[in-house]
Amino acid sequence: MPSDLVHLYMRIDHLPQIWCPGCGNGVIMRDVAVAIDELIHDEENSINREDIVIVSGIGCSSRAAGYLDFNSIHTTHGRAIAFASGIKMANPRLHVIVLTGDGDCSAIGGNHLIHAARRNLGLTVIAFNNNIYGMTGGQYSPTTPHDDKATTAPYGNVDRPFDIANLATGAGASFSARGDVYHVRETIDLIKQAILHKGFALVDVYSVCPTYYGRKNKKGDAVDMLKWQKENLIPTARYYSISENEREGKKLLGVLSFNDYPEYTDEYAKVIEACRQKAKKK
């Protein structure tokens, strides 16, 4: 018997999940379930379970859509945000949550990510960022650090990596944040904020892939990789209390950008209303 949370929000017939031992994806999927559970029971901001649609693309991360017990659609590689855009436009009431990976949303689907961010379409994008293509066996992704090894970078990665949270910010995302697998409570809170955010919201959640990325790059096992996160991703309050020198090589874990630009479907509703008023005058 799994826990009540798992029982309630996951399709237990399909569990245990297929991810490797120590894969961070299971933790992030639980974070999403906890965030939703807390929002459903939040008296102030209560959301309706039936209004949630989980959209995923292709890759290890994207298996999460099948495990979570909501309306779910597992789409084509890179296109989750584009499918989600149609769902949100068709029914703006829905909370459309995209579960994607670093390759899925910043390589093959990079174009859709930046344009959904630019439009400020009210999607919640949770990137399971494990720095590698895991499903196909460990090829370098747009977030694999320079010089790191991958099956397609046997001499070290020549590419320079994306920072997905910064990429979204640069593209105009009205909410962009960074979470990880170690800082569970902080990450759940970021996911909650992202779901409640009216416009486009992205949380770049650092996952860990001990099997294909960690082992190949001598980063140790899952435990070692979580320890790295503990030391190098610094929650907001502490991040701003330490000196510039101490921040060297560290990353902020928290909200990177936030503003209240008008949301796309709200803006489009105004167009429809203007047409209606014009027709009335005739």
Partner: protein, 383 residues
């Protein structure tokens, strides 16, 4: 009484689609289909519908499939290069059984080709463009009025059979302006997908009762939590590794179109009753063919026109019914011989089949066809 109005083919496609209930359009500008996006942007908010210009054709069809999953009748429009980009998600729509209409206003290819010139070079791509064995329904109009009425049928078939329907226009029809009298919408049949799950389904969202082919489809957000995937799946909608279940699924997808071919297929026949020679053509090419038939008839030749309106599946029954009376067939199409292959397959070359095609971006004229008919009288060799 409705009044004749001057309308362009691309415009008629939008008006027909809106009459059919289309309330979502996602697209990306491309000649010669751009007017469809422009007209949709103008017209959809007037009827409470939604338009979005996406970042490319891949995302356009993805958004269309998403909107359809959320319950709206949805459409996109493009031309060859964009149609190529849409192929993967077209297959997704087939596999996940998501209704939508995809307009391809064909232009001369390959590649960027002759962007503003007519062609019918995407006929085979419409059938085989996406990977894997899959069914396809494709319709092709030959006039502005038919564009209006036929796109309504495209939506009806998409909804009825839960599959993307390709609306294969060409530059000739897309950019043609004609006076049309639109039919009274009250007299039109408008279909809608089956929205509530079957009683015996027990939450199996892809459950199909014995003897039927199409599962019901409830929009997201209406109280049934289910899963949609492009992976091979069972009736519950979840991925499976079972070869038996995967084979059964693809078999049903193919069957739902093949076994319903009589319902799906439509042809137009002109002067075929006593014809011993049939000009086979589709889409905009029919305009020249019809002129050629009239001229040939005036010269005493028993020539008729046989035009598949449903171009996929190929209306083989209707063609085979005409075969006994025919001495010869002339395939006229705006490509290097694509429907010709279907003709050869269906007739098993039981009659000489001649071919007139064109790949230089110019139109095929009635005199080209008449010239070919005269030439045929001098030879009986199949090409």
């Amino acid at each position: 009484m409705s009044k004749a109005i001057l309308m362009q083919g691309n415009e008629a496609a939008v008006e027909g689609a809106i009459t059919a209930g289309m309330r979502f359009f996602a697209g990306y500008p491309i000649t010669p289909s751009t007017e469809i996006a422009e007209q949709s942007a103008l017209r959809l908010p007037q009827v409470g519908g939604k338009f979005i210009q996406m970042e490319d054709e891949i995302s356009s069809i993805a958004a269309v499939l998403g909107a359809s999953a959320a319950g709206l009748k949805a459409m996109t429009a493009t031309s060859g290069p964009g149609f190529s980009l849409m192929q993967e998600n077209l297959g997704y729509g087939v596999m996940a059984e998501i209704p939508c209409v995809i307009i391809d206003v064909q232009r001369a290819g390959p590649s960027t080709g002759l962007a503003t010139s007519p062609s019918q070079g995407d006929y085979m791509q419409a059938r085989w463009g996406t990977h894997g064995d899959h069914p396809v329904i494709a319709l092709s109009p030959s006039s502005v009025l038919e564009t209006y009425t036929l796109i309504i049928r495209a939506f009806n078939l998409a909804e009825k059979y839960r599959t993307p329907v390709i609306f294969l226009m060409d530059e000739i029809v897309g950019h043609m302006r004609e006076g049309v009298e639109l039919p009274d919408p009250g007299g039109l049949i408008i279909n809608r997908r089956k929205m509530s799950f079957h009683d015996g389904a027990n939450k199996q969202c892809y459950f199909v009762p014995e003897g039927e082919y199409v599962p019901a489809m409830k929009p997201f957000g209406q109280g049934e939590r289910y899963n949609i995937t492009g992976l091979a799946h069972d009736e519950s909608g979840f991925p499976v590794n079972s070869n038996e279940i995967a084979g059964k699924l693809v078999g049903r997808l193919l069957d739902k179109v093949e076994k319903n071919a009589d319902d799906i297929c439509r042809v137009e026949e002109f002067a075929m009753d006593d014809a011993d020679t049939a000009i086979v053509c589709f889409g905009g090419t029919a305009r020249a063919a019809m002129d050629a038939v009239l001229a040939a008839r005036a010269a005493g030749k028993k020539v008729g026109m046989f035009r598949p309106v449903t171009v996929w599946p190929f209306p083989e029954k209707a063609l085979l019914a005409r075969l006994p009376q025919l001495r010869q067939i002339l395939m006229v199409e705006h490509n290097h011989g694509q429907m010709l292959l279907e003709l050869q397959r269906v007739t098993r070359c039981a009659r000489p089949i001649h071919f007139l095609g064109r790949v230089d971006g110019t139109v095929i004229s009635p005199s080209d066809i008449l010239g070919k008919l005269n030439e045929m009288e001098g030879t009986h060799h199949a090409e």
